[in-house]
Symmetry: C2
Subunit: 338 residues, 2 copies
Amino acid sequence: MRGAVLHAPGDVRIEQLDDPTIVEPTDAVIRMSATCVCGSDLWPYRGINEVTEPTPIGHEYCGVVEEVGSEVTRVRPGQFVIGSFIASDNTCPHCQAGYQTQCRHRVPMTGCQAELLRVPLADGTLVATSDQPDPELLPSLLTLSDVMGTGWFAAVAAGVRPGMTVAVVGDGAVGLLGILSAAQMGAERIIAMIRHEPRQALAKEFGATDIVAERGDEGVARIKDLTDGVGADAVLECVGTDDAMHQAIRSTRAGGGVGFVGVPHGVAITGRDLFSTMVRLHGGPAPVRRFLPDLIDQTLRGEIEPGRVFDLTLPLDQVAEGYSAMDERRAIKAFLQP
Amino acid sequence: MRGAVLHAPGDVRIEQLDDPTIVEPTDAVIRMSATCVCGSDLWPYRGINEVTEPTPIGHEYCGVVEEVGSEVTRVRPGQFVIGSFIASDNTCPHCQAGYQTQCRHRVPMTGCQAELLRVPLADGTLVATSDQPDPELLPSLLTLSDVMGTGWFAAVAAGVRPGMTVAVVGDGAVGLLGILSAAQMGAERIIAMIRHEPRQALAKEFGATDIVAERGDEGVARIKDLTDGVGADAVLECVGTDDAMHQAIRSTRAGGGVGFVGVPHGVAITGRDLFSTMVRLHGGPAPVRRFLPDLIDQTLRGEIEPGRVFDLTLPLDQVAEGYSAMDERRAIKAFLQP
């Protein structure tokens, strides 16, 4: 099969790889219907995370089951399935509590930018739709594998509830889908902290009511201005830098929540930062498996269209252009057709 | 009047001071029925917080109203009242949200280890009982001014609910009352992380079901052992040091909460610490005003007896011995009779 391999910063190639096979009796092999490039793929692509050897890359996927291991009982060949970027058994205490990314047997997925994929713990990881979905829904369904589930979790972790004023830090696909999530959860006012004009437009279509282009102290001051000096009830931190985290904390009212989902790079918080602001902090790798059934339903019913974050569609063979376009911010997110 | 003044680390003296008077029309002056020494008073007493000039000290109080300013309508002379260690108007958006320690007009209290006290924002700050309380209840009622309300907030912030497994870090009065609070909220199992034997005994009387004497890595390992490898559902951090905070974070299950109320001294958290553990973090100076009406009722009904943390009773004139005994851990908490 063909699959993307990261060789070094800036060097992603499509190569001929061995077809994956059933290794464990709990595995499934799926034929990819669609895959994509994630903002977090850019960390190693940019050399911020070290690349020590050629590595199959990509962790967002949906497709049709080709084969299952002997112990798999909940999915069967021919079904369309979506899974999380971290495989989980969905039965351990962490999974049962809805924190499947902390599963005792978790397996981070990789090598999803490919034609075929081995999915460990298939029964726990994959959620099947009842029918083959309309191909037009593929982009939206694909987002549920990570980016939409992650935006949704940011809103859940921040404690978004109907009527709230919510601010979103980050104009990547996760931030934009955090806006969509907050709107879907009934937020009354959604302040998008976005500079880039084309992204402002999509933010508004997803439900943003206010745009703040300023960052740092000025950005915080604008949020305070917009909230009668109080701060937002909930803030979604969808970047992962120290600046973004502190902007989020300082934009939140006392007792309000910061939901953070950006993979932290250099984020340092003092006890005083939290003690003096009294914000609530919760985040981490989104347990998208928790949300998959509900988000699949919302997507199939047409209530949400998260696939709109894809503004570049490429054949898998042109994966390198997908990375390049996202790295240079020419594209929000690249959809790949195997 | 007589009042305690901190002159330098280790040097607290009772001095003759001017009687407080009504300064603002929203003030009240109360005659102290009881006061005490707080663990946080030990930070400046130990020189960890700088002492630059002689400062009246103490922030826990209850007493009888002597006089009120012209704009005070909710309390009147002769009433027995308890107030928070931070005065608040109880009407601003932060107060309305239950975060009175972040009140827009907040005034930190000091000089409470004295015979008389000026209380700013009396209508918002003070809660009166319907009758003069039984003198035997004074120690318990006094704790509601800070230490009990703080232990209670630690449990609220950690998200304690019936049936949970809760761990408490810290064997000071706040930690002990955090145990009492968790028990009162219906926690099924309460693990007290306490080395000191006499304090272990009181912890058990307050509702601790398990004692863990180990700290650091060993303490975390013991909590994991006791929870089938999962971690506690909620952890109360009642110390304020970096070690205590990290012990708390690492003892908590994914999605569980750490409620922290120890004034942070050198606490540093990385984004990775929180991202990888997925714990919820919430804390700060406890908005005890939020809890005063309910905790007064619980105390008057005899459901809780938080005053049991006082194991040393002294006349106000011997305040120096109170500090010394707490500093040397000869006493948990010193009750002072003006």
